[in-house]
Amino acid sequence: MAEIEGIYTIWLREMKRFFRYRSRIVTSIVTPLLWLIIFGTGLGAAVRFGGVPGGYKAFIYPGIIGQTVLFTSIFSGVSVIIDRQYGFLKEILVAPISRESMVVGKALGISTASMIQAAILLALSFIVGITMSPQCFIVSMVIALIISMGLGGLGLVIAAFTDSMEGFNLIMSFIVLPIFLLSGALFPITGLPAWLQGAVYINPLTYAVDALRFTILRESVLPLGVNMVVITIFAVVTVLIAAFLFNRKEQNIM
């Protein structure tokens, strides 16, 4: 019982932080819209994209949802570094609840924030000319939940190894952008050169984007089931690793 209360408490704080940083919510919605409307329209006009009804804009729509979830999840996970720098992490780490509960509470908070953003984007599907059915909405939300747990866990794993926000640019360049660009969010993942193909397939976000594309556009490279299994394993593994790292890491936190 104490553990559930602990998980809830950590989740609640994550939510408070999410809703109090209004500017972050605004940017997290505006950025994907810019991608869709400007990039999607611009590139869509330049290339002939016959694959999907609705054209290139519709094609990248699931990818941009994936991108939003990616940014929010990784950065919320990495925000533990800020908690460490400003000292608040100590207050949580010395509390008499298990480190596993702390990590799960945090990961749930991260995925709730990501799902709120995904829900807003899904509700704006008319912008790219897609009508959203309730089933489609629900399945997309489930995908967002699973992949955001995994990416949030990944953010926590990164945070466990990083002591200051100086590493932030490195994280952006070497982790977040590659995951985004290699996910097939912006281009089809079939018919790529072998080296690129390999990189795309070891990227967990690829499977989430493919699953979203199937759900929203009825079009995918892999079956939905395979995609779901892969992202679920990814989520479980990263959260377990994060919990293990926070458990093991001894810090002189006074």
């Binding site: 602990g6 408490t9 932080r17 109090r20 400003y86 000292g87 207050e91 010395v94 008499p96 936190i253």
Partner: protein, 312 residues
């Protein structure tokens, strides 16, 4: 006497650096106990081990009867901790910090609000309680942190450098607040400090720590008394004669004559001041002024470590 914190030869090694070298600490129940030492003496490492944040390399310790390694969780439930550096979230309110802490430490829901009101009363945040912590002054933040450490009614409160970086007035008010807690809530307080004055004014007992070892532990009064000499300076007419007279008293360890002043070194000077004035009166000397100086903890510290606390 019952000890609420006891350690036996507790040690902490970092690679090839021994931060704490075999410390034996005995903290009496319901006391305010100070660990005094310069930065880098190992104070924080010592109390981190007692708070179960760091695992000792060797030796053992108990807090509130629980082993700090085997029953770490029980220890955590029964202690409150205030860290040296701030541990607050700017974007939460004071009340939210208290709510969160109460939930994490398993304070039952039905008494949570009452506890929070009690603590808010105690730390006198007033109507700031529902504002974001980023609007608080340094003293308010500190009071909030101390109050937060008390929400779950701990038996022991650990304070690591509680008044570091605070202005003198705030420091005094934090001291008074700690004394009040100790008195009214029956909380044992273990604090670390490198302020002599803090150890002297606040603590019932002080352990002097230097280079990872506790060199000496006793009440501040006893520590200073052990140095012996209080200095009594008497300004008197016919000083040379009075000097002669004083030299013959057996409580006087040493005496010096300086112009119209006589300086004597004695033990327990406060008891001797009336004695000396009466002695002067009986022999019809006219006393103009008497001054009594105690040795300071700084003197004690220098005696035991061979250096001042600031020159670590």
């Amino acid at each position: 006497m019952d000890y609420i914190i006891e350690t036996e030869d507790i040690r902490k090694r970092y690679d090839d650096f021994l931060a704490v070298k075999g410390v034996n600490l005995k903290v009496p129940e319901e006391s305010i106990y100070g660990v005094l030492g310069p930065n880098g003496a190992g104070k924080t490492t010592l109390i981190s081990m007692l708070c179960t944040i760091l695992r000792p390399t060797g030796g053992r310790g108990t807090v509130n009867g629980y082993d700090i390694v085997k029953d770490a969780r029980k220890v955590r439930e029964s202690i409150g901790i205030v860290f040296q550096s701030r541990a607050l979230d700017d974007i939460l309110t004071g009340r939210e910090h208290l709510e969160m802490h109460a939930a994490l430490y398993g304070v039952p829901r039905d008494i949570r609000d009452k506890r929070i009101e009690e603590v808010l009363d105690l730390i006198a945040l007033g109507d700031k309680a529902d504002e974001y912590v980023k609007t608080y002054s340094g003293g308010m933040k500190r009071r909030l942190e101390i109050g937060r450490g008390l929400i779950h009614h701990p038996r022991v409160l650990f304070l690591d450098e509680p008044t570091l970086g605070l202005d003198p007035q705030t420091r005094e008010s934090i001291w008074r607040y700690i004394e009040k807690l100790n008195r009214e809530e029956d909380v044992t307080v273990l604090l670390t400090t490198h302020y002599m004055e803090e150890a002297d004014k606040l603590c019932d007992e002080v352990a002097i720590m230097s280079h990872g070892e506790i060199i000496k532990a006793d009440s501040p009064g006893n520590l200073k008394r052990e140095l012996g000499a209080d200095t009594i300076t008497v300004r008197v007419d016919r000083a040379p004669d009075f000097y002669e007279l004083l030299q013959r008293q057996d409580y006087v360890k040493e005496a010096y004559l300086m112009d119209d002043e006589v300086k004597i070194l004695v033990e327990r000077g406060e008891n001797l001041v009336p004695e000396i004035v009466n002695l002067a009166a009986r022999n019809s000397y006219y006393v103009r002024a008497v001054e009594l100086e105690h040795p300071t903890l700084e003197d004690v510290f220098i005696k035991y470590t061979g250096r001042g606390i600031t020159e670590a």
